[in-house]
Amino acid sequence: MIKKEMIALLLAGGQGSRLGVLTKSVAKPAVLYGGKYRIIDFSLSNCINSGIDTVGVLTQYQPLKLNSHIGIGKPWDMDRIDGGVTILSPYLKAESGEWFKGTANAVFQNIHYIDRYSPEYVIILSGDHIYKMDYSKMLDFHKENNADATISVINVPYEEASRYGIMNCHENGNIYEFEEKPKNPKSTLASMGVYIFNWKTLREYLIKDDECPDSESDFGKNIIPAMLNDGKSMWAYQFEGYWRDVGTIQAFWESNMDLVGRIPPFNLFDAEWKIYTPNPVKPAHYIGSTACVKKSMIAEGCTIYGTVINSILFPGVVVEEDVVIEDSIIMSNSKISRNTSIKKCIISEFVAVGADSKLGEGEDIQNEYKPGIYNSGITVVGEEANIPDGVIIGKNVMIDAGVSSEDFDSLNIVSGKSVFKGGVTE
């Protein structure tokens, strides 16, 4: 049998519902980020850069794009004879099949996959976060402490601490208490959803948890508390650096914008820690003689004749003459026709924006249809939408994926409104 010291399980089933139309047809880990990547690329690249070459990716929600993105793991150098990347989707068993109930249940259902490699340690990751982390250092820490489990934590501002799972620990990092989203947090060390377990120990707890019908089968809610109760040796590994859960439209936009700063807090240009992703096979981009590009990231295959300021353009975007794009994210293969202005928008893949239009103009009124999602002044356009010539679109507007010009009853979509495919609210 092949033996691996540590293998990784990457939980990539998250729907990411607070990303609205961006996750309409893809899971959150497959959302595009940073000019050429998908969110999951960061965890996958961290794995290979940390020397982990065996990764099981657990998918559930809308896995098509994710599956084709990962393929056999070539871009991450994970097309291996032993190990490599394996996509683990829910499946039918002899008598019944079931979806993954919770994060721990997802791992439980794949115990046989992990057993195949009989690893000493298992690292559980989520495919939802933007960060660069050397998991091998965390493993060293785990071994030094003779730990049963090590949880990676990051210091968050006190005001935000109640949104996270908080670890209360002694000076040396030994955890004595875990609180999920506490009202009055006792510490500011938030769990990053990165766990290293001794596989033997975790295996027992997963089986025990499965026998308990009331359990939500969640690492944070069930497994970690159960282990703490039993007095297992649990340690907090403090991570220093850039880490973002880009779970909301605003957080997603802000984290992308972080990349265009002069000295960005998150450096994608680090030759020692490259982030890998499938290559789009496009030529280097072309900046025309009428163009002006400042404070922006531009990917391959773009053709730019207009003005782009403080924005991120993914591969194959076309920006025609007299277009002004500011504070926006334009995803792969979208086309912005002439004399259009786009301010603070997120435009998905394969969108066509007509000429003489204005997007992101007007008052900052929250979205009527989903005020909890579109409320930070950012207008979001779903993939393959067709926006006709001469429209004016306000702030916090949601344009559904795949809309065509017939779906626009008016050429003036004021702030807070939405345009749906076929004109219907789902």
Binding site: G34, P283, K294, M297
Partner: protein, 372 residues
């Protein structure tokens, strides 16, 4: 084109490329921000459905081997067929150096004999053009020619470059009636692209015969000598085509890629594959002023760039001005330095406040790893 195999002749040394080819053969010269010259013909073959390709190398082939690797990027890492690289080798009956193009193919006759495609497409590694070879093969079959040579009217290329080519004349049935190799006074503007289609069996027997007589050049000893014995036809290619044969042509081809019509024809509709570098998208800072330029991934730009081609990972710092220039991979143009009509090879550092100025007809070249 399942029934065609490809051979790319990439051995040639070009002294006219000066410093650009001291460490690499001309097909390995970087072009258009992220490619090497050979990417074009290799992608043309792949896009034509050819999956069995041999690349014959000779001079300074290390960078070429590095670039091609297993052929992964061209989807040529196959179980059957795929990409084969043939550097010169020593054996009992072999001097270890290819004596000419015919000799280089003769030395790798096993490759030809072991393959089972009916036709062979022979092409050059240092030409920049985008096409598929289906139409040429169709004509080759229709005319029942023994050899078909692709040619082009070289009316957009200076005459001294034309006289460095094979010049041919064809009759109304496309039959080649005259072929001059590198004539001082070309008698027509029809230049050979160095691209031939020939039946594999015929190629094997021609090569055997040629080398047995002590001749080693495919053009002079096979094409020219057999002009009236075999049916040799021309196939007219009408698209954009440049051979990276001199510094001037190299510079000109890169500058022409800035024209939307040229870049569209070369890179717009069909894919040109190259080695992936996994760089982040290019970053433009506040002071960046970029016009009419090609910028590759991994560049960080804070200065002025006009009419230039920047390869992957180039840094242009504040106050620096890059005009009408080609800057290759990982080079750095530091604060307040200026560059015009210059070619910076890989990993060049132009230190603060330096100024380099060439002429359009005579661009200045700074060799690899130099600090100015």
């Amino acid at each position: 084109m399942k029934n065609v195999m490809g051979i790319i002749l990439s051995g040639g040394r070009s002294t006219k490329l000066k410093e650009l080819s001291t460490m690499r053969s001309s097909p390995a010269v970087p072009v258009g921000g992220k490619y090497r010259a050979i990417d074009f013909v290799l992608s043309n073959m792949v896009n034509s459905g050819i999956t069995n390709v041999g690349v014959i190398t000779q001079y300074s082939f290390r960078s070429m081997m590095d670039h091609l690797g297993s052929g992964k990027e061209w989807d040529l890492d196959r179980k059957t067929d795929g990409l084969f690289i043939f550097p010169p080798f020593l054996s009992d009956d072999n001097s270890g150096w290819y004596r000419g193009t015919a000799d280089s193919m003769y030395n790798n006759l096993t490759f030809l004999k072991r393959s089972n495609e009916e036709y062979v497409l022979i092409s050059q590694g240092n030409c920049i053009y985008t096409t598929t070879f289906d139409d040429m093969l169709r004509q080759h079959k229709e005319t029942e020619a023994d050899i078909t040579i692709a040619y082009r009217e070289m009316n957009d290329i200076p005459i001294d470059e034309v006289s460095n080519m094979g010049i041919l004349q064809v009759d109304s049935e496309q039959r080649v009636i005259d072929f001059q190799e590198k004539p001082i006074h070309p008698n027509s503007l029809f230049g050979s692209l160095g691209t031939y289609i020939i039946k594999r069996e015929l190629l094997i027997s021609l090569l055997e015969e040629c080398v047995a007589h002590g001749y080693y050049d495919f053009v002079l000893d096979i094409i020219v000598k057999m002009l009236h014995k075999l049916k040799i036809c021309g196939y007219k290619f009408n698209g954009y085509w440049r051979s990276i044969s001199s510094v001037q042509m190299y510079y000109r081809c890169n500058m022409e890629l800035l024209r939307p019509d040229v870049s569209n024809e070369l890179l717009g509709s069909s894919k040109v594959y190259t080695k992936v570098k996994d760089e982040a998208p290019a970053k433009f800072n506040e002071e960046a002023e970029v016009r009419n330029s090609i910028v590759a991934d991994g560049c960080i730009i804070e200065g002025t760039v006009e009419n230039s081609v920047l390869f992957r990972g180039v840094t242009v710092k504040k106050g620096a001005v890059v005009k009408d220039s080609i800057v290759m991979q990982e080079s750095i143009v530091e604060e307040n330095s200026a560059l015009s009509h210059a070619i910076l090879d890989k990993n060049v550092i132009l230190t603060k406040g330096r100024c380099l100025k060439g002429e359009e007809t005579w661009p200045i070249i700074i060799g690899k790893n130099v600090m100015v």
